[in-house]
Subunit: 421 residues, 2 copies
Amino acid sequence: MDTPSVQALGQRAKAAARSLATVSTVTKNTALQAIAAQLRADMDAILAANEQDVADARTNGLSAALIDRLRLTPERLQAIAADVEHVITLADPVGERFDVRMLPNGLHLHRRRVPIGVVGVIYESRPNVTVDVACLCLKTGNAVILRGGKETTRSNAVLVAAIRRALATAGLPDDAVQVITDPSRERVVELLRMDQYVDMIIPRGGAGLHQFCREHATIPVITGGVGVCHMFVDATANIEQALPVIHNAKVQRPSACNALDTLLVERVIAPQLLPRVAADLAAVGVELRADAEAFPLLSTAAPNIVPATASDWNTEFLALVLAVRVVDGLDEALEHIWRYSTGHSDAILTTDASAAARFIEEVDSAAVFVNASTRFNDGGQFGLGAEVAVSTQKTHARGPMALQELTTYKWVVEGNGHVRP
Amino acid sequence: MDTPSVQALGQRAKAAARSLATVSTVTKNTALQAIAAQLRADMDAILAANEQDVADARTNGLSAALIDRLRLTPERLQAIAADVEHVITLADPVGERFDVRMLPNGLHLHRRRVPIGVVGVIYESRPNVTVDVACLCLKTGNAVILRGGKETTRSNAVLVAAIRRALATAGLPDDAVQVITDPSRERVVELLRMDQYVDMIIPRGGAGLHQFCREHATIPVITGGVGVCHMFVDATANIEQALPVIHNAKVQRPSACNALDTLLVERVIAPQLLPRVAADLAAVGVELRADAEAFPLLSTAAPNIVPATASDWNTEFLALVLAVRVVDGLDEALEHIWRYSTGHSDAILTTDASAAARFIEEVDSAAVFVNASTRFNDGGQFGLGAEVAVSTQKTHARGPMALQELTTYKWVVEGNGHVRP
């Protein structure tokens, strides 16, 4: 493959999107099956390219965790191919009609779900994202321009080449899936400003990447992925239930954006709850950052505890660290969350229905939880079958973005010579 | 009123949005009624301020059409107050639950419609927009920061003062409606970059304003309002029906973004249709810009005709001007529309159901019309009861934006101590 300009990628993507928009679900599924087969057929080439990326990463001193994220193995590639086959089983939202009605003047009106068009996805170093995003875009009839991390350039080139071959064998335009392999940041800026060709940008990465995209884009950007997540335990909470939920929210996958960052505890329940939380989390090595009131209640059981500083309240730890604060009650908890939440995932543990109702009503986050772990904020866990990103902005989509959120709609108006009076 | 910084407006708006989000429909309607009453009570002051704006506009040599747009009269102000009362009758979308379900693990999940938060609206010189936008935002629980044209600074200040007084008497935060009165463009840029306070920007104006917002905003911008609109008349069309539809789409309000710009006619029907189109439109002073093939068919009946130039095909005329082209058939029409449409409103006139179906499927515009005038692309005409903008972008909303499009949703997850496996 030569290396076309970003403008050329945009032009080709727009042309590909035009044909993709009217492709049947059956054909899209055939192409997905072909992609899964091609990934398996090309396994040796993919693993060889990935091995070079891994070797470079080692030379460049990347951390073991990052190297593990970018490494492909036969098992991981088989899992990626199986994930492609899973997308086949998902319902295709394109073509769905809604708000169907006849107006008093006899005009027939409906909204029809259609692909967005061209989606640009900018992400970091996991090669599985390359395949996942390409397949979700294909299933929804969107062309995609991918820009992965520079550490995975070779892996992504080979993966995308496999996908493009499969698209061609299925009779679909291979320009439906394209990748920017030039690692320069200027190419990203070009992509972000190509509003004549690209309809939506999805960044997948840290706060810096999202900020960079917002700053430079002239195209709508789905921002999200950053979660300073809270859990408020009120006086009526069931402590036996609270302990495993807190544990799960913090410990089950601390590097995820829906992992718990700040635990707020109502004063009257703090003496019963906090020593047990401390013992439970100390056992798995969680570092606690406690306010003055929580500190003495935690410190007896938690060797790994420091006083919380002001910046802890707006930090997404992405690690086994938990900030803990004692509050007067629901009002102070709501005030804290209003001030510090990034609007991702916030939870209340309570047996008081009116407290739960107020929390749901007043916490302005993508997902609000009652007596459940924040870790459920995920497209798969919500039963959506997929997830291309988690949005924390207010427009287009909020929370997990699955297939439906990769579509828009058009209005269809059918008349019989109707003119506007 | 002092003149606070744009940052201060943002902070206040965000605080106001927090309380507004949980206000009942009854209270919001009471506030709307108070606004209508206050506008009537303040009529003399409003008309006096407006008279000064009009006098300045005359001094500055604004066109009669622009001056007419900014002028308020007792009748126009009564109509604006009546429009406020109309908003009371519209259904409040906030609080609506959808996608309600129980997951296999027993978690109860639903999406709940909520206000967006803080909306920034940047518009040109019509003072009625000030009241209209403020009331639609209020009804949907959003705080709004308004930035009208500099020609209407005094009118807007007095109108917003009336609205704010009414909000206060209804017990709502007056910072729910604020206006930037400083005419400097730097204030607009500040607004566009205030992503910590503002959730969505709606520009209402020409292509230049939309471009400016896209360039400078770090906040999601709803772009739209620019329509190069097409009508394709195929060989099977009913000519007696086609003539009034073409006439309506071009003539009923040529300054609107959904007015017809380019007429495409299938070759075999052109000799019957075009002389009659020419005669019909010549009678009301429409200038025709014809391609080489359409020219001789039009020129006998149309004194006001010139050859079309390349730039005519991507011009939104906003005037009694129509570009006309003869095409081979549906394929060439679709190709022309794909190339030149701004994705606003495009129509086919046909009696062939399969042609209509292909047109609906393949034309990627916010609204696609069959045997109806493009002038119907409007929130009121679509039965939505209101319209805050017409979007031609693909994310969040497409076509007329009414109350529902001024909302987002949150996910609500209710469990019983659920943890993620």
